[in-house]
């Protein structure tokens, strides 16, 4: 299996979900969240694929980037909650 096959399926599911949510009224915020989270899910899948293919350093580098994004968003949310 080549790298990117699982990522392709994750991205496709995300895109289909985005288009579906765009058609349903009152799902505006869900639409935005899914649109923003899909590339992150794609990135996680790619990192897993790289690690499974024993491409250790690229996989770890990509995972670090994703962990950094999630941690920053979580800390920002936490700080906003305390303001």
């Amino acid at each position: 299996m080549t790298i990117g096959k699982m990522t392709w399926y994750v991205m496709l599911m995300g895109l289909l979900l985005i288009i579906t949510l765009a058609m349903i009224p009152s799902t505006d915020q869900a639409f935005i969240v899914v649109a923003l989270v899909t590339p992150i899910m794609g990135g996680v899948t790619t990192a897993v694929e790289l690690l499974l293919k024993r491409q250790l350093w690229p996989g770890i580098s990509l995972l670090c980037a994703i962990i950094l994004i999630i941690a920053t968003v979580a800390i920002n949310l936490f700080m906003k909650g305390h303001q």
Binding site: L15, Q29, F31, L62
Partner: protein, 259 residues
């Protein structure tokens, strides 16, 4: 039709043209969308950038689907460059939240003038000007700067990532464009999430922008091969130049009125 729907249709139409133009010259629609939203709809720069970032995410997903199928994405390089790019995107998002609207408009106008210059020179000559002497350090710094610019201005950043990938890694322009398309999705998602937490996402602007730019990009990508590339690049360099002038005019007016 209710006014809300008309407003959405108008924004969708502008986003459609921005997506089509962007796909034709291969620079993404954000560059045209953000100035259009600010100039013609009076949308605040933060909301315009937020909407553009979501649109960048969705076009990146759609583009990546095509490129992944053709096996054109270089995951090895993309994975290494994703870290500095994400750091830049997060920094840019916080800077974007802290900077004054006028300063952001001025920065956007300067970036548009840079793009005007890049579009005016022929594509092959563009990559011949610098010898292939870029180091890893230079690439990481360029990606960091690309992430900041992308996040701060609400654009994809492909105009920075593609030359870096071509010049450093000797990737073909097509493979570099595919890798950049994959790279900008996660970058835009990182800054988009911060913008959302800051309350800069207005669904009434975001949804028509996303749908318009997506349809425009699909049609633009099909139309582009039928039009001479030089003519396209020259035409759009005029558009980006005019957009820069409109933004500069807004900056000067707000400076004089003190608004």
């Amino acid at each position: 039709m209710p006014p809300d729907i008309w407003y959405a249709v108008e924004i969708g139409a502008i986003a459609f043209f921005a997506g089509a133009f962007g796909a034709m010259v291969g620079i993404g629609g954000g560059l045209f969308l953000v100035p259009a939203l600010i100039s013609f709809f009076g949308v605040g720069t933060a909301e315009a950038r937020g909407a553009s970032l979501v649109a960048v995410c969705v076009t990146s997903i759609a583009g990546s689907l095509v490129y992944l199928r053709k096996d054109l994405v270089d995951f090895f390089r993309a994975s290494y460059l994703q870290l500095p790019t994400s750091v830049g995107a997060l920094l840019g998002a916080f800077m974007g939240g802290a900077l004054d609207e006028t300063v952001v408009r001025l920065l956007f106008a300067c970036f548009l003038l840079y793009v005007t210059f890049r579009l005016w020179i022929p594509e092959q000559q563009e990559f011949q000007q610098t010898s292939r002497s870029l180091s890893w350090k230079a690439a990481i710094l360029a990606c960091l700067a690309g992430g900041i610019i992308s996040s701060l201005l609400g654009v994809g950043g492909g105009i920075i990532f593609v030359p870096v990938l071509v010049l450093l890694f000797n990737l073909t322009p097509q493979r570099a464009a595919a890798t950049s398309t994959y790279l900008i999705g996660l970058t835009a998602a990182a800054s988009g999430l911060i913008y959302q937490q800051m309350g800069h996402m207005n669904p009434k602007i975001v949804i028509p922008c996303v749908l318009g730019i997506l349809m425009g990009a699909m049609i633009g990508a099909r139309t582009a091969p039928k039009v001479p590339a030089v003519l396209l690049r020259r035409t759009f360099s005029v558009v980006t130049f005019l957009s820069a002038l409109i933004l500069l005019d807004k900056v000067i007016r707000s400076y004089w009125t003190g608004a």
